[in-house]
Symmetry: C2
Subunit: 345 residues, 2 copies
Amino acid sequence: MLPWLSGLAADPGRVHTEGHVARAAVEGAREQVAALVGARPREVVFTSGATEAINAVAFGCADRGAQALAPVEHSAVRDAAARAGEVVALPVDGLGRVSVDDIALDGVGLVHCQWANHEVATVQPVAAVAEAARAAGTLVHVDAAAAVGHVALAFADMPVDLVSLSGHKFGGPQGTGALLVRRGLRLPPFVVGGDQERARRAGLENVAAIVGLGAAAEAVGASTADEAARARQQTDALLAAALAVDGVVAYGDTRDRVPHIVCVGVEGVEAEAVLLGLDQAGVAAHSGSACSSESLEPSPVLAAMGVDAERSLRLSVGWSTTDAEIAAFTRAFADVVARLRALRA
Amino acid sequence: MLPWLSGLAADPGRVHTEGHVARAAVEGAREQVAALVGARPREVVFTSGATEAINAVAFGCADRGAQALAPVEHSAVRDAAARAGEVVALPVDGLGRVSVDDIALDGVGLVHCQWANHEVATVQPVAAVAEAARAAGTLVHVDAAAAVGHVALAFADMPVDLVSLSGHKFGGPQGTGALLVRRGLRLPPFVVGGDQERARRAGLENVAAIVGLGAAAEAVGASTADEAARARQQTDALLAAALAVDGVVAYGDTRDRVPHIVCVGVEGVEAEAVLLGLDQAGVAAHSGSACSSESLEPSPVLAAMGVDAERSLRLSVGWSTTDAEIAAFTRAFADVVARLRALRA
């Protein structure tokens, strides 16, 4: 990314040499991202992040009828769909998984179905949901932000129309994402005012970030299986360490899950206090609450699963997580919980 | 920006130490941007660029009635306003300046008025337009993308409600911008799905880019007058060199203009051919056509001024432009035009 943040910065839409060089870099990154997700390069639209991509989907499909989604979807999907018009709720089970047998799609124009849950890691039955959607004649959008780079994903083979993804979730820079748009599908643009991205997303291309996204896609694409195995091992260790403490339970599907996330509930103490205790031990964890803040609002994901959200912790690993960091959690967690419970007693 | 692209990358919305450090960086950048434009930090909403900020304005004001704008506004303003609903055209004169005496604002809920034109550099009578808008009870949005960093601008003293700006236009990174929202004004968010930016713009903050935007704002804020004087001198030299060639005319107001842009028309040759000739001489210039591509569509700016857009060139300088580059243009321009005319003859 560095050259693009300094001397090479240019507008890829221009005819001068600097513009052509920037254009080539953007198109190279598009091929890298397409390769990671098994899509054609022309199906990749760069955005400022998954949130924008998801807004583009919900907004662009607003005229197609109601939008169906489970309450375990990310707040970006829930809020963007609610703004677009009528929302139809899809049922979920106690693991946060969409109950395919019970979905009804009358009057629905678009079904949102995440690839995997961002808080409890449960993998969704995307193929079955998509089959039901196709039978009902509706489009399907998959929020794959919690999955891309962590599991193999082939857009060409998926019976879905739209996929959103986030760069920083797999080692790319913040401020990048992409929307995959099935060839032939015309989606009105969300950000208008220029013909960038084949008139699908206006605004000067963020060349440096796009180049970084492409590089991350290529790196993670070459090592997804290895990364997944390591992440699985690390999160299995996190989960085992957490469950070894009395009154700790696992949320979501601990087997059929994305490899880099686990979610646990801790009886008798507030999540925020645990987070602060872990932070003192050098461990950055995340409560099972809203994405945008550690608000005290209960997580809609856990509420939909019938779980007490105020006691939940989301533990995740990334490409840079070391086994030493896993060991630091293992050492700290029992102590933090014991201290908090003692204070409370 | 470098630390934020590597080890320090974190979500500013989290309670862990990494999150707090990122939050402090974002808020520091907010103070830097606020200082540059004379706003309160809380009035600054970070976006992925001016295009998104402009979309947020037009979308957020869609329920307020028609939107008034001159045809010389940037395509982002024109397209976003057209999507929001009814558009009322403001008249312009032959220099591309809004004719304040002739504007009528019946049924208008929002007036867009750029600070300065992005193609011909003409400074707009923002204060007079804002006065007329205030008298009519409508909000005012100023697209200041072509002005911020190049002229002094004090939001606190401007009788306007919303200002959009672009980071890369004054030395910040691509993929950044901001919307200034007057204290007390509630604008529905454009990108929804998270409470970032005080629930005014959802999506993980692009920390590195925001830090870069802040640094650029501080740097340019400390040297705006010097930069403007240098840019004015350089563009005066560009203009003089261009006008020394027979059949070259200036477009826009060459006196009351932003210092870093001039626009000229070249009789008898296509703009694109001149661009390519200049490119061979190492000069990256820009035709007076659409922002997002060197399309053959005539520029609406020049069309509104009654000018033949296919013959126009936009010449601009930035903080990194050297006098040697100005000299390179001066050496090349007459030759390029003469060669093209000879080919045609």
